[in-house]
């Protein structure tokens, strides 16, 4: 008999405990309820979920919250296609807007066939590791090491190494997510709007003769481009030609025409840089030999 009552007491106690806890949960559910716009989840569904950070937000969820909030426009997600952006805009009843497309661009033209090597690097096959060992062995200390850290880090498969060991950016696939900019130990990548068609593909700060001795397509700071360019579009700084993109609306092909090395180029399309008529022709395809 006693055992039965024990059983009843423990059963009743457990049931009571359950009721009390359920009441607390029900109370908390009402009291601590946070309203979340259901559209945030819907927008997130329409986003690529690559969390690449190209939009400048902490991730796709953060982007969705801000779009629904009206802080940013749907077009700021550079990974989505125009259709997907419009989908988000329709869902929220706002305009998709337009953002000028940016692409990652490399400020170096020194592939193995034109840039000399001083020493052969052997070790961990990444640019980061090579840069720590005496700069990586390239005669030009500013130039691309060609070990493809950028191609490895690219989430969108937009960077491929060409046969001369230089990364080539596919502007269609590039979302301007900034990963390659951060990973390059020489700081050669930057995100440029496609309207920036005039481009100096060199960062060598040595004086002209030294620069040209280390790489056949180096900027020698001869100043011809500056002379030919519209007023204030170009200038020389640190033995390099620099484009002043504040005056980009005045940019023309003129500065590239007399460039002796072809260091300064004009992007007819975002993927195809054109060299000037006076640029020396590079017919070599094989890597240059090691020069001590």
């Amino acid at each position: 008999m006693e055992s039965l009552s024990n059983l009843a007491v423990s059963g009743a106690f457990m049931a009571g405990l359950g009721v009390v806890l359920a009441l607390m949960l029900a109370f908390a559910n009402k009291k601590l309820y946070v309203f979340e716009d259901p559209r945030i989840g819907e927008v997130e569904e329409l986003l690529p979920k690559s969390n690449c950070g190209a939009c400048g937000q902490a991730g796709c969820r953060d982007f969705a919250e801000k779009v629904v909030h009206g802080d940013i426009i749907p077009a700021q997600c550079t990974v989505n296609t125009q259709q997907q952006r419009q989908g988000i805009a329709d869902l929220l009843g706002v305009a998709a807007g337009t953002v000028e497309k940016k692409v990652a661009r490399l400020a170096c033209g020194g592939g193995q066939h034109v840039a000399f090597l001083r020493a052969r690097y052997e070790g961990l096959k990444t640019c980061r590791a090579a840069a720590v060992v005496s700069g990586g062995g390239k005669e030009c200390a500013w130039g691309c090491l060609g070990l493809a850290d950028c191609a490895t880090v690219c989430t969108f498969d937009a960077i491929a190494m060409d046969r001369h060991g230089l990364p080539q950016v596919d502007s269609e696939k590039c979302t301007a997510c900034n990963d390659c900019v951060e990973v390059c130990p020489k700081g050669l990548f930057s995100l440029e709007p496609v309207s920036h068609r005039l481009w100096v593909a060199c960062k060598n700060q040595a004086d002209g003769d030294t620069a040209e001795a280390s790489c056949e397509v180096a900027c020698t700071a001869c100043g011809k481009c500056v002379a030919d360019a519209p007023l204030k579009l170009m200038q020389l700084a640190n033995n390099l030609a620099v484009v002043n993109y504040d005056c980009n609306d005045r940019a023309t092909r003129a500065p590239i025409e007399r460039c002796p090395t072809g260091a300064i180029v004009w992007f007819d399309t975002p993927d195809r840089p054109a060299k000037g008529a006076a640029a020396k022709r590079i017919l070599r395809n094989d890597p240059l030999p090691l020069r001590h």
Partner: protein, 446 residues
């Protein structure tokens, strides 16, 4: 392990015993001639680059200051040779990025005589004046740290130093320049110790020398003052005995906690060559313009310990010692911690204690074995003198988990001695990964 220490003397735990190759230990210091062109980099030290004091076309005398310190953590530089300033321009460095350098064309008849000096009576100087006098010599940590010595000597008042540990271990294989200076210039070392003791308020000084250099121990013992303030101790030969933390453990029996300086436990470490240079230069107020460098390796015809003017181009030095091969592997420093050099135009800087020159193909065959995955054998853990876990650090580095490496596995305390890479049977380039990780973390912090 304590039991074993009873037989071989107290020392730090773990560490390795690489082959020593101290073949040049018996070769006296010899002078190298001047190159026709010397390149003095404005940044040869930790801290800010110096500011040039000379113009292009100006004549300079050997020993004359040509660049002034820019701020406290910076040192001046002096002309290593009499000549004309040819240019001030960017020049390759051993680290990779080019930096500003003063290029001096040597006069053909330039002599070894130092024509510029300012004698001073050191015991009359107070602490600040003495630190300034150290800065004026342009001396930096010559063991390879290249931290400005005067800045290191400014120990905060709240941390009294009771022991000056003089580091004469030279635990790196091949290098013998410290050894030769201890044998040939013991009086300079004692004078340098006197200056540092004056600055630190007279702590006792212990000179630690590895027991493979007993002739150096005896040479210094013969010069010791009678008052017993300076003693010499032979410490067990083990790599990396010459690391500051390890030598403090061996000689004083204290351990430096992570993220602390050695003066916080009352010990102050100084390299023996740095002290020798202070002792030799400061009474006469000279600048630091030449240093002893061990040049050795299989590709060198005339190995030895050479007194080389700062700024001598590597190409000239290799010609002098007869190093010729199609491919050379050139390393500044020792084989464990040294740095490969990419350009023969690189000049000798203040921090270079040795130059190893091997035939490139030989090195490539030996070192470029295949890398295998980590099998967690624990050899690296057994060798790490700091008690870190290089295996775990290496795996995290491969996954680019750099923050985790520093927060959970104390990457910051690794001083890159190379023991883990040396013992790794899978040939994993552990230290190189750590160097990359440290550099990335530094960039992120900046």
């Amino acid at each position: 392990m304590k039991f074993l220490n009873y037989f071989r003397g107290e020392t730090f735990a773990r560490g390795i015993h690489p082959p020593q190759h101290k073949e040049t230990a018996t070769m006296p210091i010899r002078r190298l001639p001047f190159a026709s062109q010397l390149i003095v980099h404005l940044s040869q030290q930790v801290g800010r680059p110096a500011k040039p004091l000379v113009r292009v076309g100006q004549e300079v005398l050997r020993g004359q200051p040509i660049a002034a310190a820019d701020g406290f953590v910076s040192v001046p530089h002096h002309a290593p040779v009499s000549g004309v300033v040819e240019a001030i321009r960017l020049h390759p460095t051993a680290n990779g990025p080019w930096s500003e350098a003063i290029i001096i064309r040597a006069h053909p008849g330039s002599t070894q005589e130092v024509l510029w000096q300012q004698p001073q009576y050191l015991p009359a100087l107070d602490a600040d004046e003495l630190i300034e006098a150290v800065q004026d010599t342009g001396i930096v940590g010559l063991g390879g740290g290249v931290f400005p010595t005067h800045a290191k000597l400014k120990v905060p008042k709240e941390w009294p130093v009771d022991t000056l540990v003089v580091n004469g271990c030279e635990c790196e294989p091949y290098l013998t320049s410290d050894h030769r200076i201890m044998v040939e210039k013991p009086a300079d070392i004692i004078a340098g110790i006197g200056i540092v003791r004056q600055l630190l308020g007279g702590p006792r000084a212990i000179i630690g020398i590895e027991d493979n250099k007993m002739d150096a121990v005896e040479a210094i013992r013969a010069c010791l003052p009678d008052d017993g303030t300076i003693s010499v101790e032979a410490v067990p030969t083990k790599y990396p005995q010459g690391a500051g933390e390890m030598l403090i453990k061996t000689l004083v029996g204290r351990e430096v906690p992570p993220d602390s300086r050695s003066y916080q436990i009352g010990a102050y470490v100084q390299n023996v060559v740095t002290l020798a240079q202070m002792g030799a230069l400061m009474p006469r107020g000279l600048g630091f313009i030449e240093r002893v460098i061990t040049v050795v390796g299989t590709a060198v015809e005339k190995p030895g310990n050479y007194l080389v003017p700062i700024g001598t181009p590597l190409r000239f030095l290799l010609d002098c010692v007869g190093a010729r091969d199609e491919f050379l592997e050139v390393v500044f420093g020792g084989p464990m911690m040294g740095q490969a050099v990419a350009s023969l135009d690189t000049p000798i800087t203040k921090g270079v204690s040795g130059i190893l020159v091997f035939r490139g193909r030989e090195v490539a065959e030996r070192t470029m074995r295949k890398t295998y995955p980590c099998i967690k054998c624990g050899e690296c853990v057994e060798s790490c003198p700091m008690g870190l876990n290089p295996s775990a650090l290496g795996m995290l580095a491969a996954k680019r988990q750099y923050e985790l490496m520093s927060e959970r596995y104390f990457l910051g305390t690794c001083f890159e001695c190379g023991s883990c890479s040396y013992v790794c049977p899978a040939n994993i380039p552990l230290v190189q990964q750590f160097r990359v990780a440290k550099r990335i973390l530094r960039e992120k912090a900046a």
